[in-house]
């Protein structure tokens, strides 16, 4: 509860504590492989143990050197630290912020121990044509992604020197605009099949980056459709004067309805509340929290108030209980 600093009144305090205690009871029965520093990890020495990250040997026993969860893969025992920086795995969907443009590559901050690298050759060009990257493309890199732009991409692999390569070989990846970026601890985002979510009832896109960067923004239609439409109507368009269609497009590009803006903030606040309480961020829980706030008639501005934190904690208890009963 490091991040949680709330001004709770007495009853709220009691309720929150009760909820958190109940959560602890629920989870402790499931898996109790959480260790703190200097805690002994029980192992079967006869099998021969490979000590991995976050462990060391002390007086013939395997001892944790990190706070986290014990993971076992065959003989290997290691501790996966919570509250650490993001640890990338190949295929992860991440959201990052461009920090630097270097020759043929962008450096992207993703809360990894070093900046990730997105090569110009590892991404689709905006015109969607597969071809060799020319010197002109290289000069135009800044117009694709500039410094500070928020981009989504996929982890391609780790180089031998420990640097991280990204790729963005699909139109769904790319620059994210018109929305909010929220950063949470990476362990709160679990790897799932889907990380791009279109919440239709709110008209927004939610990108849960595995690195704990969460994007909440207005829904953007996939580019690929737009592309084909463009090509079809291109001949038509060329005949017309461009000015009108252009400005309309620009207006559309910049205009986000009032309601959508509010929805973005509502979802963002839901993410903030959940992450402050240390609950896993899945799209279901986020929507559930947002809907709860709407159905309880809580103003979005009050979502960060103490009462809603307590309510969210209590709802989480209910949810986990029902899951347990069902399972």
């Amino acid at each position: 509860m490091r991040d949680l600093r709330l001004s709770l009144n007495q009853t709220q305090k009691v309720r929150l504590e009760a909820a958190l205690e109940e959560l602890q009871e629920l989870s402790s029965s499931a898996a109790s492989a959480i260790v703190t520093v200097a805690e002994t990890i029980p192992v079967n020495h006869e099998d021969g143990v490979l000590k991995g990250h976050g462990t060391t040997e002390l007086n013939g026993e395997v001892v944790a050197t990190l706070c986290g969860v014990v993971e076992r893969v065959n003989k290997l025992v290691y501790v996966r630290a919570l509250r650490a920086r993001y640890k990338p795995e190949v295929g992860d969907i991440i959201v990052g912020r461009v920090v630097e443009i270097a020759p043929k590559r962008w450096r992207i901050e993703i809360n990894f121990s070093q900046d990730a690298i997105l090569m110009l050759s590892a991404m689709n060009l905006p015109d969607g044509i597969q071809r060799r990257r020319t010197a002109v493309d290289e000069l135009n890199m800044r117009s694709i992604f500039g410094e500070n732009d928020v981009v989504s991409a996929e982890v391609r692999g780790l180089q031998h020197d420990g640097s991280l390569q990204l790729q963005a070989r699909s139109q769904k990846y790319g620059k994210l605009e018109r929305g909010q970026l929220i950063t949470v601890s990476p362990y709160l985002v679990k790897r799932r099949k889907q990380h791009f979510h279109h919440l239709e009832q709110y008209g927004i896109d939610l990108v849960l980056g595995c690195n704990g960067f969460i994007w909440v923004g207005e829904h953007v239609e996939a580019q690929e459709n737009a592309m084909t439409e463009d090509q079809e109507s291109e001949t038509e368009e060329n005949k017309k004067p461009n000015k009108k269609s252009m400005t309309l497009e620009e207006q559309e590009r910049t205009y986000t309805p009032f309601q959508t803006r509010q929805n973005i903030c509502r979802i963002a606040n839901a993410v903030r509340v959940l992450s402050a309480l240390g609950f896993c961020l899945t799209v279901e829980v986020i929507i559930d929290t947002a809907e709860a706030s709407a159905s309880l008639n809580i103003d979005i501005k009050d979502m960060l108030g103490a009462e809603f934190y307590v309510l969210t904690a209590e709802r989480e208890v209910q949810r986990r209980k029902s899951i347990k009963k069902g399972g």
């Binding site: 991040d3 600093r5 709330l6 001004s7 912020r97 461009v98 920090v99 905006p126 015109d127 135009n140 117009s143 694709i144 500039g146 410094e147 500070n148 732009d149 928020v150 620059k175 994210l176 605009e177 018109r178 929305g179 909010q180 970026l181 592309m227 463009d230 291109e234 368009e237 060329n238 004067p241 461009n242 000015k243 252009m246 400005t247 497009e249 620009e250 207006q251 590009r253 910049t254 986000t256 009032f258 803006r261 509010q262 903030c265 509502r266 963002a268 606040n269 903030r272 402050a276 103003d299 979005i300 501005k301 979502m303 960060l304 108030g305 103490a306």
Partner: protein, 367 residues
């Protein structure tokens, strides 16, 4: 002015433009959907440092936290051959309601009796940010004009007040209001040892800390008769006025202003129905000045081919560029309009306004 380098927010032009357009709507949509005069929730406590005369700690929900310690030290006043104050006047002064005695004190108190130091992690003490923040806080304290007088003991002795402001977290947002409010709370909790010697003698103090005299006394109803100043940060976007801007909001601010105020002491007597009095105002250079401008699609080579086939005539081109200019982010230029400034001052000072609300809120968390 304020050094923006370290406080630079990293937001892309697209985000800036989105945020700016959200904030310029009527009513503005702030990223966490606060009302324009709503403050971020904070927790506060006082008297946390046992060896200081007064101390306070405030932390925001986002984790920014500040501690202020106030330490008083007895100091000899540099004498300039002034006439000795007779005992009669002194008694009046002790009661604190004699106007003549009050006037006397004002002339004797010196600004150097107050020393403020601000420490911000990651900054040297001669960096411009801590110095600027320190100057702003000291300026407000001194210009309220009442604090120095409280430090006066007699002709030859006075208290010297050291205010140490310590920001514990990296400055996530512009930390001025946090530091100022913490200083405010610390000063409210400050007590000075009780004087037991004759007023004109060399001072001798009561050992009993429980008998110490609070620097800011409460009246019979438990209300403070006077309060130290508080400083608020106010930003404007278009015609919208936003109080307590967060870091992201500051990144699109068109202008930022620091307003210091104290409660009006002569409220009953005066005809104006203002609850607060402005003691200091400073324009702050907003970090938005240094944000990168966006590139309109029409002139962006990456998107040019996709979104806009080359225009046929140069007239068209010009019309295009002017039309799209407003659609992308451009760093704001220029200052604050007079009418906006007047509106801000009014919002802060009027009775039931933001200033009163803040001081009431702080009184509520004093525990």
């Amino acid at each position: 002015m304020a050094p923006p380098g370290s406080l630079q927010t990293l937001l892309s032009p697209a985000e800036l433009s989105f945020l700016h357009s959200s904030l310029s709507l009527q009513p503005p949509i702030r990223p966490d959907l606060r009302k324009s005069t709503q403050f971020r929730p904070l927790t506060a406590e006082t008297d946390i440092l046992p060896t200081t005369n007064g101390s306070a700690r405030i932390c925001y929900n986002d984790g920014t936290e500040a501690i202020v310690g106030v330490k008083a030290e007895l100091e000899k006043t540099a004498t300039q051959g002034r006439a000795k104050v007779d005992a009669e006047t002194m008694d009046d002064v002790e009661e604190g309601n004699e106007h003549a005695g009050f006037q006397r004190r004002v002339t004797k108190a010196a600004n150097s009796w107050l020393e403020t130091s601000v420490e911000v992690p990651g900054f040297r003490d001669d960096d411009s940010l801590p110095i600027f923040l320190g100057a702003l806080i000291t300026e407000a304290l001194l210009s309220s004009g009442t604090l120095q007088d409280k430090l006066w003991i007699n002709e030859r002795w006075h208290w010297k007040l050291y205010i140490d402001v310590l920001l514990l977290s990296p400055p996530l947002s512009y930390p001025l209001p946090l530091l100022s409010l913490t200083t405010h709370m610390a000063l409210l909790s400050t007590s000075l040892p009780r004087l037991i010697s004759e007023p004109s003698d060399d001072p001798l103090f009561d050992d009993d800390w429980a008998a110490a005299v609070p620097l800011y006394a409460k009246d019979a109803h438990g209300e403070y008769t006077a309060r130290p100043p508080a400083t608020l940060l106010v930003m404007t976007v278009g015609t919208n006025i936003l109080f307590d801007p967060s870091k992201d909001e500051l990144a699109v601010a068109e202008s930022v202003i620091a307003v210091s105020f104290i409660p009006r002491s002569d409220r009953a007597a005066s005809s104006v129905d203002d609850a607060m009095k402005i003691v200091a105002v400073r324009m702050v250079d907003p970090p938005s000045r240094l944000t990168p401008p966006g590139i309109p699609d029409a002139v962006n080579p990456a998107t040019l081919s996709a979104s806009a086939p080359a225009p046929q005539s140069s007239v068209n081109q010009e019309a295009l560029s002017s039309a799209v200019k407003g659609s992308v982010w451009n760093p704001p230029r220029g200052g604050m309009k007079r009418s906006l400034l007047a509106q801000i001052v009014k919002m802060v000072t009027q009775s039931g306004g933001v200033g009163e609300e803040v001081l009431e809120g702080l009184a509520g968390v004093e525990t």
